[in-house]
C-alpha cells in the first residue's frame, strides 16, 4: 500500500478525482501531475492549474498478472500510459475494455473508479482510470 495516508489522499483529490493538471503559460507545455516549477522555463515560467478533458489515446500498455501488495483483488489488470489531448501523459489502469481492443493509438476517455482500499476498515482510494472508446 503506497501513495496513501489521510492527508495525502485529501491533498491529491483534485488531481486524482478530476484530472487537474497544470500548464506553463510561458512555453505552453501541459504537465500531469501538477508541477509548481516549469522544467523548460524555470523562473520565467508561469504555471497555472488546468482541468484536463480526460480524452486521449493509448501510448503504451501492459497486462499485469503479478500485482504488488494491495492490488491482489484487481489482478490481472491493464496498465497504460495515456497521451492526453492536452499533450501531457499519465500512467493509469484501463478498465471496462476487452484486451483485443487495447492497441497503441486507440482513443480512450477517463472514468472515475476505486483504485485501492486499505483493508476492511481503512481508507478507500478513488481516482482516474481510462476505458477505450468504441
Amino acid at each position: 500500500m503506497t501513495g496513501t495516508g489521510l492527508a495525502l489522499t485529501w491533498r491529491r483529490i483534485p488531481e486524482r478525482y478530476n484530472l487537474i493538471g497544470s500548464r506553463c503559460e510561458n512555453c505552453g507545455e501541459a504537465f500531469f501531475p501538477v508541477r509548481t516549477i516549469c522544467p523548460n522555463c524555470r523562473r520565467r515560467g508561469r504555471i497555472k492549474r488546468e482541468a484536463f478533458s480526460g480524452n486521449g489515446k493509448i501510448y503504451s500498455y501492459t497486462f499485469v498478472t503479478s500485482p504488488p501488495t494491495g492490488f491482489e483483488l484487481e489482478a490481472p489488470y491493464i496498465m497504460a500510459v495515456i497521451e492526453l489531448e492536452e499533450g501531457a501523459k499519465v500512467t493509469a489502469q484501463l478498465v471496462d475494455t476487452d484486451y483485443e481492443k487495447v492497441k497503441i493509438g486507440a482513443p480512450v476517455k477517463m472514468v472515475f473508479r476505486k483504485i485501492q482500499e486499505e483493508g476492511k476498515e481503512g481508507l478507500i482510494h478513488y481516482g482516474f482510470k481510462f476505458k477505450v472508446v468504441d
Binding site: 496513501t4 501531475p33 500498455y61 501492459t62 499485469v64 498478472t65 504488488p68 496498465m79
Partner: protein, 389 residues
C-alpha cells in the same frame, strides 16, 4: 581544478542469491573483508567509507545503514556515508568515493554496496522497489517495476519492430555468462524456449525477462594512482565518472524507448575518457529487465537506436564478440541485490581488466565500462576503467 587519478586496488563480493543464513551485516562484512584482503591493505589506514543501499529501511527495517557497515567491518570511527539512488545506489556510491579520492579529500576509500531482500515476502519487496518510481502516480495506480519496463518494451516493439525473441535472447546470453561465474545466483544456462515459455509477469515481459530478488554485497577499495602500486601490481584506473538524472515518472518523458540519463551520462563519460564506444572491450549494463539491456546498448552508443534487439540476436553482444556485454551474467543472471549491483559491476570489470575472469575472460580486455540505472531511468551513473599496466 586539478583532479588526482584514481585506481581500484582491491575488489570483493559475496555470492549473489538467497542467503537465508546471512543477514545484512554478515553480507557486507564478507564482501568488505574480501576487498580489503584483495588490496593487501594490512596496516594501512582507511580514510572513509561510502555505502550504497536502496531500501534497507523497507527491507530489513534498518536505517543509518552505513554507520552499521563501518561498525561491523571494524572501521569505526572513520566517516561513513550512505548513498541512495534506487538501483543506482552502488554506482553513485562509487562515484562519491571516486570524487573523494580525486579531489584529495581522502586517500584510501572503501566503497560498498549491499541489499538484503529475502527477509520480506516478494510482494513487499515489489512495493519497496516501487519506491524507485513515482510512488504517488505510478505505484499508487498499480504500476509495478515489471509493468513500467513492459510499457517501455511495448513501445520499443511498436517503434522499432523489436521482437519478444530478441528480448528473450538477452536472458539466454546472460544466463550463459552467469553459468561461468561462481558468484552468480543462476548457474544454469537457459534455452530461448524456456524464456519464451515462462510465466507472463507484465506482458510482453515474462518471468525470465526479469532480474531476480537477491541478497548480496560487493566492495571496492580506491586509492590515488600514485599510491596504487603499493597495494597491487594490476591497478585499474577509473578514467571517467559521469552521472545524469531524469523525471521519476516514466509518463513525464518525451520518449519511452530511450533513457535520456543514460545518453547524457555515457556521452559525458566518453568525452572525459577521450574514447568512443567502439574502444570499449567489455561493459556491464543495467539489465534489470531484458528490454533495459537492449535500450542500454543503444543509448550508450554501441548500436544504433532500434538495432539493439537484432544485434543481440546476431550474437554481437556475446562473450568475445563485437562487444562483450554483461560477462558477469548481469542483473539477470548474476542477481540483483539492488544496492550492491553498481559496485558488483565495478568488481566484474576489474577482474576482466586484470585478466582474472576465468572461463568468461574477454581476450585482451583493456577498456571496460559500467552502466548503472536507478528506477526506470531517473538516475544513470557510468564509469569507464582502463588497465593501468
Amino acid at each position: 581544478m586539478v583532479m588526482r587519478r584514481v585506481a581500484i586496488v582491491g575488489v570483493g563480493m559475496t555470492e549473489f542469491g538467497e542467503h537465508w543464513e546471512m543477514g545484512f551485516r554478515e553480507l557486507v562484512a564478507q564482501a568488505g573483508l574480501r576487498a580489503i584482503e584483495d588490496a593487501k591493505l594490512a596496516g594501512v589506514k582507511i580514510d572513509a567509507l561510502y555505502g550504497g543501499t536502496m531500501a534497507a529501511g523497507r527491507l530489513i527495517g534498518q536505517e543509518h545503514i552505513t554507520a552499521l557497515i563501518a561498525d561491523y567491518m571494524g572501521l569505526n570511527p572513520i566517516p561513513a556515508t550512505r548513498v541512495e539512488a534506487a538501483c543506482a545506489s552502488g554506482g553513485v556510491a562509487l562515484r562519491q568515493g571516486y570524487m573523494a579520492v580525486a579531489s584529495g579529500m581522502h586517500d584510501i576509500v572503501v566503497v560498498g554496496g549491499a541489499e538484503k531482500m529475502t527477509d520480506v515476502p516478494v510482494s513487499d519487496a515489489a512495493v519497496a522497489l516501487g519506491g524507485a518510481g513515482d510512488q504517488e502516480w505510478e505505484l499508487f495506480m498499480g504500476a509495478t517495476f515489471p509493468a513500467l519496463y513492459a510499457l517501455m518494451a511495448r513501445r520499443h516493439m511498436y517503434e522499432y519492430g523489436t521482437k519478444e525473441e530478441e528480448l528473450a535472447q538477452v536472458a539466454v546470453k546472460n544466463h550463459y555468462n552467469a553459468s561461468k561465474n561462481k558468484y552468480a545466483q543462476f548457474k544454469s544456462p537457459v534455452s530461448l524456449e524456456t524464456v519464451m515459455g515462462s510465466k507472463v509477469i507484465a506482458d510482453p515481459l515474462k518471468l525470465f525477462d526479469c532480474s531476480p530478488i537477491s541478497d548480496g554485497a560487493a566492495a571496492v577499495v580506491l586509492a590515488p594512482m600514485e599510491m596504487a602500486r603499493q597495494f597491487t601490481d594490476t591497478p585499474v584506473e577509473i578514467i571517467a565518472s559521469a552521472q545524469a538524472s531524469d523525471t521519476l515518472a516514466l509518463s513525464s518523458r518525451k520518449s519511452l524507448t530511450e533513457l535520456r540519463a543514460t545518453k547524457v551520462a555515457a556521452k559525458k563519460a566518453f568525452e572525459l575518457a577521450h574514447i568512443t564506444p567502439g574502444d570499449v572491450d567489455v561493459c556491464e549494463v543495467h539489465d534489470c529487465f531484458t528490454i533495459a539491456e537492449i535500450m542500454a546498448i543503444e543509448d550508450i552508443g554501441f548500436f544504433p537506436k532500434g538495432k539493439g534487439g537484432k544485434a543481440t540476436m546476431d550474437g554481437e553482444t556475446a562473450l568475445n564478440s563485437t562487444i562483450s556485454i554483461n560477462t558477469s551474467g548481469g542483473l539477470k543472471g548474476c542477481g540483483h541485490p539492488v544496492g550492491a549491483t553498481g559496485v558488483k559491476q565495478a568488481v566484474e570489470i576489474t577482474w576482466q581488466l586484470r585478466g582474472e575472469a576465468g572461463d568468461r575472460q574477454v581476450k585482451n580486455a583493456e577498456i571496460g565500462m559500467t552502466h548503472n540505472v536507478g528506477g526506470s531511468g531517473a538516475t544513470c551513473v557510468v564509469h569507464i576503467m582502463r588497465r593501468a599496466d
